[in-house]
């Protein structure tokens, strides 16, 4: 564990970059420092590997005061990734990655072998090994930066806005990659960003800092969104934090119904039987149970009645289907994803699929809203009375076949409460 204890940094010109900061950074998880420009994030990060020495307070690594430790050994035990990667432009990609192992005295062959292994881990093609940094895209360079930081397998990884210089799509890919790597390696990562969305996406714990180097709030992302400590944090979080918070609520236990679902060759009786009173549409699936699209019950019925012309008619009716939109994976995606699907669906109903893409049911915006209220109520009462799961129980009582994991109120939220990297990866 990294323990930052009443640390203050005053630069020579009198600027107080960090003011009496106390922070416990847990092992094996991602802690994000976030805040507006100039609030002291980089300064804090660099005090952890002693590129900057604190003017007051101390930092402990596993109980040992950093100031007592030899600085080079300390730095080599901490990977460091920065914006624009900071690659050595005069060295090939493998040699960039092999830098720290080489300094630690590994022979060239072993260091390069390790470098190639890491290229694979961060998703870099082996053919890039002999290239120079200028021959790589920005996103690829960032991956090299991450690989280089991981080369000597340091327990701690310090990352200073590593993904802020690449375009949003590449950034998303890199974030997902980081979560994947973290779920495999379980490093202690301190991640600096000024992007609150990135913080919420990546952080197990988030430290919001405000200008002047003060800590405004230190909490897991879910708590940050639901209970911002003050107006500054609330403002920094932005306007749609309610919606964003939904990404911490699992869709496991969401009430879905399999009733208004038919295959393309359903007959009139089936169609009549499966049409819900509140939904004039039916979801049509193929023979494998994959969704094809929505159809109005009355549009579907006459065509499938048409006897020998059925197969060609089916082709035509498939083309007439309303798009089903992006389905969500029940139990894996969050309520935010489910709500998004429902909002985007032409019928207002979201399509739930299992991990293989087979439809398990559909659900309405109203049902999702009920689940959200239930989840909120469960969350709100959880800290005070852990057993107050009545709203959840009420909510899930009506659930369909997918309710199994949600027998207990706290269970659905337990995984994303805090410090669980695999859940982050799934988000």
């Amino acid at each position: 564990m990294i323990r930052i204890e009443s640390v203050t940094k005053r630069y020579a010109d009198g600027t107080v970059a960090v003011d009496d900061l106390t922070l416990d950074i847990p092992d094996g998880s991602i802690t994000v420092l976030v805040g507006p420009s100039g609030c002291g994030k980089t300064t804090t990060l660099r005090m952890i590997n002693r590129m900057i020495e604190p003017s007051g307070g101390r930092i402990l690594l596993d109980g040992q005061d950093l100031a007592q430790q030899p600085v080079t050994a300390l730095r080599r035990s901490m990977g460091y990734v920065i914006q624009n990667a900071g690659l050595f432009q005069h060295r090939t990609i493998v040699d960039n990655i092999a830098t720290v192992p080489r300094m630690l005295g590994w022979d060239r062959g072993r260091a390069r072998e390790r470098a190639r292994e890491l290229m694979d881990r961060v998703g870099l093609d082996a053919t890039l090994a002999k290239r120079y940094p200028y021959q790589l895209s920005g996103g690829q360079q960032q991956r090299v930066g991450v690989a280089r930081a991981l080369a000597a397998d340091p327990p701690v990884l310090l990352m200073d806005e590593p993904f802020s210089a690449v375009d949003p799509i590449v950034r998303k890919g890199l974030q997902a990659e980081l979560l994947r790597i973290q779920s495999e390696l379980g490093k202690t990562i301190v991640f600096v960003t000024h992007d609150i969305d990135e913080a919420i996406k990546l952080g197990n714990m988030i430290a919001v800092m405000r200008t002047g180097g003060h800590l405004a709030q230190y909490a897991p992302p879910d708590e940050l969104l639901s209970a911002p400590a003050d107006a500054f944090v609330e403002d920094f979080l932005g306007t749609d934090r309610g919606i964003r918070r939904l990404s911490f609520f699992t869709s496991a236990g969401l009430d879905v119904t399999a009733t208004p679902i038919v295959t393309a060759d359903a007959d009139a009786a089936q169609i009549a039987e499966r049409t819900l009173p509140e939904l004039p549409y039916l979801l049509v699936t193929d023979a494998d149970g994959k969704p094809l699209g929505w159809a109005k019950a009355e549009d579907l019925a006459p065509r499938t009645d048409a006897g020998d012309g059925a197969s060609t008619e089916d082709g035509a009716s498939t083309a007439d289907l309303l798009p089903h939109g992006r389905p969500f994976v029940l139990g894996q995606d969050s309520l935010r994803d489910a709500l998004d699907c429902a909002v985007l669906s032409p019928t207002g109903w979201a399509v739930a699929v299992d991990g293989t893409g087979k439809v398990v049911g559909v659900t309405s915006q109203e049902t999702i809203a009920t689940a959200i209220r239930g989840a909120h109520a469960g969350r709100a009462t959880k800290p005070a009375e852990p057993d107050a799961d009545a709203p959840d129980a009420a909510d899930t009582s009506a659930a369909g076949p997918a309710q199994a994991p949600a027998t207990d109120g706290p269970a659905p939220d337990a995984p994303d409460g805090d410090a669980d990297a695999p859940v982050k990866a799934a988000r």
């Binding site: 080079t72 080599r76 901490m78 460091y80 920065i82 900071g86 050595f88 060295r91 720290v100």
Partner: protein, 249 residues
Amino acid sequence: MNQYFDMPSDLQHSYVGLIGLHLQEALLPVLFGLLIALPLALVCSRFSWFYAPVLWVTTVLYAIPSLAFFVVLLDYTGDSTTTVMIPLTVYSLVLLVPAIVEGTRAVSPDTVAAATAMGFGSLRRFVQVELPIAVPAIMAGLRLAAVSSISLVSVGAIIGNEGALGNLLHDGQIYHRDPLIITSVVTTAVLAIVVDGLLVLAQVLLTPWQPHGRRAARRAARAAAVDEPAAPRDAVTDAVPAALEDAVR
């Protein structure tokens, strides 16, 4: 043809011998200059306050006319190649020290921070990271130093027989043998061009990590232009003949 390549006996050298002497007197000082400039630049990069006085001193030395330099040195080193090479070494410093210091300073702060964070000490970082990345800037300085040194050697003719191709020019004048003047001027210019070309080749070989081609060449040229010191010196290749004429007069 002989009127161009028959060397007057007072030169005590064949044509080829003169070229060898000229190159030695011109390029050894640049090499010594580089060997002195590297540690100076290292100190300047560690203690940035040191750079201003170093730059000031080298610039002041650069402003001393070579003739004055020679006159002072004659008392100590006499009519020898050393007397020519010492000023040239000093002159090369004013090009090389800034080239190295500015070149290493221009290394991206991200790269420097990354190196520091990986546990590079400042000496190791200077040698393994900053210096290699500064090679293009250093080579630009080196090219200027080499070419200007080749032009300046001829001034050695003033103090006796150590001006190499400069003495040939001088002989051409006093013996009224215009072909010798042409030989001297053309040979000096060709030497400068060839040496410069070799340095460009060396840079290409030293920096496989750089995007090559016309773009790179243009960038190097711009860097060279920036590195040119304020004090006007006839350092550029096509000014070599003019410098020779001036020096001899």
